[in-house]
């Protein structure tokens, strides 16, 4: 098991995400300034020792905003993944286990949701709910759950034919017991793999929503919003948009490496494939 962690790329992923979590936890301690305090006298200061990432159009310290942004991104990614799987997994398991009408209905429902590109659906939902950080989380969850339901269903379809499930049924175990004791554990590991592979995508979607203007709202130090704010100044004050973008790329990179590592760890059959 520890062999996977000796893979340098997985190790890099662990370090990046570890650093991300660490920074998010101690943000108030390490941020040099208040991320929302404006000071028009120092607007558009280029990167200096006092402001390593420079200041933005309102004189806010960009480093501090990037540091506080870790909290926003982590919160969105974790909550969206949790909500999407809490909706998707039970529906998928029920659908795959009982088959029949329930299954047909659920599959057509997921077809409808999956007829949209994910960002477009999240965009429409976020706009309809009125843009805010909470609604971004809801929108991404609604756009993401069908994929998890499909995954849980296909794993359940295979599991319900397994002899240990049959044995449990023969011993008189009821459906609730079979589902929670025998099917759910089998569904968990593919779910964890999928979530870890999706984390990067969720962060990119949230940043995209923030950039368009239907996500987190200013003055929240959300990275996508920060890039949008610096957009009009990119030709002269390049640092305003550049640093939040690097932060996003680094975090998504870390999650992608970690996701590949977790997949190799939990599902050795896929090792080395698809890279």
């Amino acid at each position: 098991m520890w062999r996977s962690f000796r893979n340098p790329l997985t190790l890099a992923g662990i370090l990046i995400i570890g650093a991300l979590v660490g920074i998010a936890l101690v943000a108030p301690l390490i941020a040099p300034a208040d991320p929302t305090r404006t000071n028009l006298e120092i607007r558009f200061d280029p990167p200096t020792r006092a402001h390593p990432f420079g200041t933005d159009q309102l004189g806010r310290d960009i480093l501090s905003r990037v540091i506080y942004g870790t909290r926003v991104s982590l919160r969105i990614a974790i909550l969206a993944a949790v909500i999407a799987t809490t909706i998707g997994a039970p529906l998928g398991i029920i659908s795959g286990y009982f088959r029949g009408r329930v299954d047909d209905f659920l599959m057509r429902l997921t077809d409808m949701f999956m007829a949209f590109p994910r960002l477009i659906l999240a965009m429409a939902i976020a706009a309809a709910l009125r843009p805010s950080l909470e609604n971004v989380i809801i929108a991404i969850s609604i756009a993401a759950w069908p994929a998890y339901a499909r995954l849980a269903r296909s794993v359940t379809l295979a599991l319900r034919e397994e002899t240990f499930v049959e044995a449990a049924r023969a011993l008189g175990a009821g459906s609730p017991r079979i589902l929670t004791r025998h099917v759910l554990p089998g569904v968990l590991s593919p779910m964890v793999i999928q979530i870890s592979l999706d984390m990067g995508g969720i962060i990119l979607t949230a940043a995209g929503l923030g950039f368009i203007g239907v996500g987190a709202q200013p003055p929240t130090p959300e990275w996508g919003v920060m890039i949008a704010e610096g957009r009009n100044y990119i030709t002269q004050q390049w640092w305003v948009s550049t640093f939040p973008g690097i932060a996003i790329a680094l975090v998504v990179f870390g999650f992608n490496l970690l996701g590949d590592g977790i997949r190799d760890l939990l599902d050795p059959r896929l090792r080395g494939r698809g890279r």
Binding site: L9, R108, L109, D111, M112, F113, M114, A115, F116, P117, R118, L119, I120, L121, M123, A124, I125, A127, A128, L129, R130, G200, L204, A207, G208, F211, I212, G213, V214, G224, I227, R231, I234, T235, W238, S241, T242, P244, G245, I248, A249, L250, V252, F253, N256, L257, R273, G274, R275
Partner: protein, 335 residues
């Protein structure tokens, strides 16, 4: 085969109807009042009421939906509150720009993705393979809108070798619209300076939009080629003394192509998603930017129209992937 096709098309149709329901009800729980938003805070109350009545916004939601579907069947998507024009007309004007951009992007993605993927499969395990894998992971991690801004900064503001946002320099006049595709129209009008200008405007957005497809195609090409290159018939081909080039392009690539085709189709559909962000960054007058501004201005009819169009193209791309898969691989049987 035909039964499958019909079933598959019916399911797509059902899904798109579901899309309509979802978006329609979503756009009607928007808390703000779009009419008040358009007319401004000083508008007299009875004027607002009058316009709401004229657009049918005072009717119950389900009734509005039935009327909407009825009009849809007749090819009427309603009138945009923001542009005061029929949505169908708007879309007809904005769609070609998106098609043009998406096609350019997929060309970039396929050409570069295939070469990169083949190169790294052939160089399997050597440094170039590692470098490619590292950069493709980085490439997948960058937000496209940020990549667009950075490339604009470097190639437009600093180096000045590529033009800025938009489809054409402002001092050039647009060739008369025949197809709506600016490059084709310029060709028809034999306006070669406009053609050159339009092409140079397309480079950056096409590279940005095509970047994710490029990485995806490169990865699948590499994996698929590696699998094929290990087969016995490749050893036979080499033993026969065929040139390495022939072995790789004729014998290996041909057999590695099935998964690659699938990924290309999936990415073409997915480009629409990237198009929303890319078009916003590059001021590209396409459906993506139209959808974004419709959402920001709570323009029901435009939101519905744009979303419907995007879902339609997306579903058609997925359908095409499924069918291509069946045609290319006779082993697959349709139920």
């Amino acid at each position: 085969m035909w039964a499958y096709l019909v079933r598959r098309a019916l399911l797509s149709g059902l899904a798109i109807f579901g899309v309509l329901v979802i978006v329609f009800f979503l756009s009607h729980i928007i808390p703000g009042d779009p009419v008040a938003a358009i007319l401004g805070p000083q508008a007299p109350h009875d004027l607002i009421e009058d316009i709401r009545r004229r657009w049918g916004l005072d009717r119950p939601v389900h009734e509005q939906f039935v009327r909407f579907v009825g009009r849809l069947v007749r090819g009427d998507l309603g009138t945009s509150i923001a542009t005061h024009r029929p949505v169908v007309q708007d879309l007809r004007e904005f769609f070609p720009a998106t098609i043009e951009l998406a096609t350019a992007a997929i060309l970039v993605g396929v050409a570069a993705g295939l070469s990169v993927g083949i190169t790294s499969a052939v160089a399997h395990g050597r440094w170039i393979d590692h470098v490619v894998r590292f950069f493709s992971l980085i490439g997948l991690s960058m937000p496209v809108f940020w990549l667009g801004l950075i490339l604009l900064f470097i190639f437009y503001s600093r180096l000045g070798i590529l033009p800025g946002p938009g489809q054409l320099d402002i001092f050039l006049s647009r060739p008369p619209a025949v197809t709506g595709l600016i490059t084709i129209d310029a060709l028809i009008a034999r306006d070669f300076s406009a053609l050159r200008n339009a092409l140079s405007h397309m480079i950056l957005p096409a590279v940005v939009l095509g970047s994710h497809a490029l990485v995806g195609i490169a990865r699948i090409t590499r994996a698929s080629m590696l699998e094929v290159l290990g087969q016995d018939y490749i050893k036979v081909a080499r033993a026969k003394g065929l040139a390495e080039r022939t072995v790789i392009l004729r014998h290996a690539l041909k057999n590695a192509f099935l998964p690659i085709i699938t990924v290309i189709g999936i990415y073409y559909g997915g480009l629409l998603e990237g198009a929303v962000l890319t078009e916003t960054v590059f001021g590209w007058p396409g459906v993506g930017r139209y959808a974004t501004s419709a959402i920001l201005s709570q323009d029901f009819a435009a939101i519905m129209g744009a979303t419907l169009l995007i879902a339609l193209v997306f579903s058609l791309a997925n359908l095409a992937v499924d069918l291509a898969y069946g045609i290319l691989n006779p082993k697959i049987r349709y139920e």
